[in-house]
Point group: C2
Chain length 277, copies 2
């Protein structure tokens, strides 16, 4: 596995690499990331993974400084997974003036769901992904459904700005008890970890009701919020949305997604389940 | 010369075209555009010119509907100039939802100079150029210095978003009396056309003074504004700026640019001269 630090080296490597699949990450890799890598390997001649903790997508008071950096373990996992190139750029080269001057500005959906609680987050994501796409120039890029709103925004961005890249969504990896795999799970205490699967259980209960034909989204959302709040969670949102547009799902919609974000102690966990009915 | 209408055909053509130089235009081509084409031919194996009157960069009350569309004459000129491909996209394919959802947002310089008089103009330029870059995927793109602020913003965008494209600036083409070539010159009456070179003469006078060491930019600007106003012009601005940053030039700066925009009757003319001292 080639470890590439500079933009110039990345571009040079890319020129002779054939068809490339790309997996952008912030490191601290778990089995969910490795599922992205496996999918990427099916899609192209060569797989590039990037590790870059992107300051731009963290808000004030968020965990940018504390975000786990585990480069050595990450590189070892990627080597074992058969990744061809690891792009590990220096922040000073990606943001030479510290401030990013040009931003890719997503439409209003950036301010809903997680965006309502993390102002500027999805602008930061769209901008850094654009930069990484322009540097790596992949043919295909894989994103996890765990970050459903992010996946939605990246897909819409690629379409709307005519980027020559195919976006491949990959199913969320889960622990045996249903908890979605996430780098932020590492912040959970033992007691919180035991409680954490309640988020998924509530989403599953809503998804089952939707599949059974329930259309009273508000009361489904409320019962999940109540159950979480009663068990020590601070709930940002539990919402039923249209899976394709992320707009408020209309009664009788066929493709829905149930999304939630809630804090359990310090860590903020997110999860979602797609429903087709 | 291949005339290409669809994004898919453009991408297919691009795959086998080798090194590409790209000249994006809004059509109504004149000798200034053909100078861009000549420069492009020096820089690559194949030259692509696009013709697209971009609704996004016109403000309310601007001349989008009236903007001259002269496709047949344009295509003939490009054929004679040895252009390899003419990309002439359908607006409904570039803006399928009419509204562009994702925009490339330039920094504050977008609201200065021409941007102060054309709100949203440079966002529209940056966004459509990003889209065209993503479709054509050129190695090199040529832009005229006539639209100096546009050139500045495109260069900064390519740098800041790490687009894999070399931007080549091309000198402004001028009529014998100094008037910068522009599609909007076609709007001038005969009397206005005779008056029009006054804009260039004022810029030239300021540039000469700067070259001679003058540092009182405000008084140079004012004397030009006064001369233009006294001769029937409605002046948007005449400004001395730093040529590299487009910020207010400091006294003693070595690389400056004098920029102006003014209306003569209906048409709004812009021009600029770079000064190195």
């Amino acid at each position: 596995m080639q470890v590439i630090r500079s933009i110039a080296d990345m571009r040079a490597w890319r020129k002779t690499a054939g068809k490339i699949a790309f997996v952008p990450t912030m490191g601290n890799l778990h089995a969910g990331h490795l599922a992205l890598v496996r999918e990427a390997k099916q899609r192209a001649d060569k797989v590039v993974v990037s590790i870059f903790v992107n300051r731009l997508q963290f808000g004030q008071g968020e965990d940018f400084d504390a975000y786990p950096r585990t480069y050595d373990a990450d590189a070892e996992k990627l080597r074992e997974a058969g990744v061809d190139a690891l792009f590990f750029p220096d922040e000073r080269e990606l943001y030479p003036r510290v401030k990013q001057d040009f931003n890719v500005e997503p439409p209003h959906v950036q301010n809903e769901l997680c965006g309502a609680f993390r102002p500027g987050h999805f602008r930061g994501v769209a901008t850094v992904v654009s930069k990484l796409f322009n540097i790596v120039q992949p043919d295909v890029a894989c994103f996890g459904k765990k970050d459903y709103q992010q996946l939605h925004i990246i897909r819409a961005m690629v379409d709307d700005l005519n980027m020559p890249i195919e976006i491949v969504p990959v199913d969320t990896g889960r622990a045996d008890d249903g908890l979605a795999l996430s780098s932020r799970n590492g912040y959970l205490t033992e007691a919180e970890r035991a409680e954490a699967p309640r988020l998924y259980r509530n989403l599953r209960r809503i998804a089952d009701a939707l599949e059974a034909g329930e259309n009273d989204y508000a009361s489904l959302e409320k019962s999940a919020i109540d159950d979480l709040a009663a068990n020590g969670w601070q709930v940002d949102y539990v919402e039923v949305r249209d899976a394709d547009t992320l707009e408020i799902g209309h009664a009788g919609a066929h493709r829905l997604v149930v999304l939630a974000a809630a804090r359990l102690g310090k860590p903020r966990l997110i999860d979602n389940i797609e429903v087709t009915r």
